[in-house]
């Protein structure tokens, strides 16, 4: 696959950090002599992303997601390994590359607080040398997609967090980049704003064919946007493949939920069918090994007969799968 937009090979980043114990004495000691320790933020990861893909980049805090994004956007030099994005080596920071990519960070803003975003857009137009006609049509399109109408004329400081993020998106995409790195774009936003941002990213990807690599703590973001996920933990790649297969590979069990008519769930012994996870108001949730799930479900239906009001068999919630991955020591699984 030579047409990969993002091509990462054995990328590594080792940080040298200063360590010190707590307490004043230790602080004074470390003021004079520092103990340094190497931390492998990214410990050799390899993946490729094709044009127009929207890929979710998952991992707990400190997994190396942001470090990877910073290397791919050219802000950090790797300690070892190679990467190419759109055919450029990101950390050379060639203007030709910078003009075709964007990095959006949910917890940082590039907009100037005291002035309306419209003024910042003009500055960006000049920086990216966007012709007037293209600038107008891009701003109009982003205004329509993100419902920015009044927002861009108010000083940024007067906007709510959600409104600011929408304007931030517009600023980050004003030069119509081919590649977008989104680092926690929905962090701190309320549910309805999260949904709108998600819809926007999906629609933007559909309209422009831009390649998107997205990190998020909210699994809903990933489920709504990404067919493919890359999971990293402690700087190593744990999984790279379809989101749909993640549960199957990472969580070898299913969740059976049975609702009973008589509400006598608490008195019914269902331990024989699987591990009882919870019982509440006539509803019992069981965890059952993936292989035996169909058979156990059949038995449950037979044995409970007419007492059964409803039964469902599902993959465990994606959060649970991810959590399982991160709390256990798994070896690399690649699809």
């Amino acid at each position: 696959m030579t047409d990969a937009v993002v091509d990462v090979r054995e990328l590594r980043k080792t940080f040298r950090v200063t360590e010190r114990e707590e307490g004043l004495a230790a602080t004074l000691r470390s003021f004079v002599k520092r103990h340094r320790k190497d931390v492998n933020a990214v410990a050799g990861i390899t993946f490729r992303i094709g044009p127009g893909e929207v890929v979710g980049f998952l991992g707990p805090n400190g997994a190396g997601k942001t470090t990877t994004l910073k290397m791919l956007s050219g802000l950090l030099h790797p300690s070892a390994g190679e990467a190419s994005v759109l055919g450029y080596v990101p950390w050379r920071r060639e203007n030709a590359y910078l003009g075709r990519m964007t990095l959006l960070m949910g917890n940082r803003t590039q907009l100037v607080w005291d002035i309306p975003a419209a003024d910042s857009f003009r500055v960006l137009q000049e920086i990216y040398r966007i012709p007037e006609g293209q600038f107008r049509s891009t701003v109009n399109e982003l205004t329509e997609l993100l419902e920015l109408q009044e927002l861009v004329h108010k000083p940024v400081r007067n906007l709510s967090l959600g409104e600011r993020m929408k304007v931030e998106f517009a600023a980050g995409l004003i030069h119509s980049p081919s590649v977008a790195f989104l680092d926690e774009p929905t962090i701190g936003l309320d549910i309805s704003m999260q949904v709108r941002i998600r819809r926007f990213v999906a629609e933007y990807n559909r309209r422009t064919g831009a390649t998107v690599l997205l990190t998020s703590h909210y699994m809903d973001d990933v489920v709504a946007l990404c067919k493919r996920v890359i999971v990293i933990h402690r700087g190593r790649l744990l999984y790279d493949g379809p989101l749909a297969d993640l549960a199957e590979r990472m969580a070898p069990y299913k969740i059976i939920t049975a609702t009973l008519h008589d509400g006598a769930a608490s008195s019914t012994d269902l331990d024989a069918y699987g591990t009882v996870v919870s019982r509440e108001e006539g509803r019992v949730t069981l965890r059952v090994d993936r292989q035996v799930a169909p058979e156990r479900t059949g038995r449950l239906v037979n044995d409970l007969g007419s007492r059964l009001a409803d039964i469902s068999v599902e993959d465990p919630p994606i959060e649970e799968v991810i959590d399982r991955v991160f709390t256990s020591e798994q070896t690399t699984v690649s699809a």
Binding site: K13, T14, F15, R16, K70, S73, G74, L75, L76, H77, S79, W91, R93, N95, A96, L98, G99, M101, T102, L103, M105, R108, T109, Q110, V112, D114, I115, D119, S120, R122, V123, E126, I127, Y128, R129
Partner: protein, 261 residues
């Protein structure tokens, strides 16, 4: 190049809009500037009511010098101080990343980004004081007329280079506000010609803190006390300082982006 000039205009305009929103503040700042400048002009007048010459500087030359001081200080406070303060904030908050991700000179985008437009008043008053001083000088030769603006521009360049070098330490130490504050307090010494100070202070004010050079030399040019060689050296020195400071800044930037690792 044209793009950078247009960017500069945009930066200036947006900041102007912002300051115009706070009219009262603007008026008070202008009043303060007038009072401060007026007081120091008065001090010079009082001084020269007792003497006609101060270490070879007469009243006209002193007025030109004081005007140059306000021009240079005004320039520093107009664009350099606000921009460099913002730069250190960017380093602290990590928002410097955004400047580094732009297809344009990061040094430009950061170091001349912010304006305190009201400081134009200080520069304007400085220009008036210079003009009054000049009007008292019977004749100004062509060489002086050409040399003066060149020397003044070199002064701006020197101050820029010094602040750039100082602020670069923010890449390693994050907080260098005190270093900058120290600089601004030295700045005040520039309102008198460097040659009235004792040797050690004169050397400091001409080298480590080039405010002495930046202010005194243009005034010396007008007073006909600087030869072409001196002016040439000043120009060379300014270019060297600018190149060196820019190199140092890029070095700091490399450590920020971890290029050394």
């Amino acid at each position: 190049m044209v793009r950078y000039v247009r960017l500069l205009q945009l930066f200036f305009r947006t900041e102007l809009q912002y300051e115009l929103e706070y009219r009262l503040n603007l008026v008070l700042e202008i009043i303060q500037t007038v009072v401060v400048t007026g007081t120091s002009v008065a001090a010079i007048l009082v001084l020269f009511s007792y003497t006609t010459i101060l270490n070879g500087w007469d009243l006209s030359a002193m007025l030109v010098l004081l005007g140059c001081f306000y021009l240079v200080q005004g320039f520093g406070e107009l664009v350099l101080q606000p921009s460099f303060e913002k730069f250190m904030e960017h380093v602290r908050l990590g928002t410097l990343d955004f400047a580094l991700l732009k297809p344009a000179s990061a040094q430009f985008l950061v170091t001349v980004r912010n304006f305190q437009v009201v400081q134009l008043a200080q520069m304007g008053l400085g220009a008036i004081v210079v003009a009054v001083g000049l009007s008292r000088i019977p004749s100004i030769g062509l060489a002086e007329a050409i040399g003066f603006p060149i020397a003044l521009l070199c002064g701006f360049g020197l101050i820029y280079a010094l602040l750039l070098a100082l602020s670069t330490f923010a890449f390693w130490f994050v907080r260098v506000d005190n270093l900058m504050a120290l600089y601004w307090s030295f700045m005040d010494a520039g309102r008198f010609p460097v040659d009235v100070y004792p040797g050690w202070l004169r050397v400091t004010l001409s080298s480590a803190v080039p405010i002495g050079v930046a202010v005194t030399v243009p005034a010396q040019v007008i007073a006909g006390r600087l030869d072409p060689l001196g002016l040439g050296l000043l120009m060379l020195g300014t270019i060297a300082a600018f190149v060196l400071a820019s190199w140092f800044w890029r070095l700091g930037l490399r450590s920020y982006t971890g290029a050394s690792a």
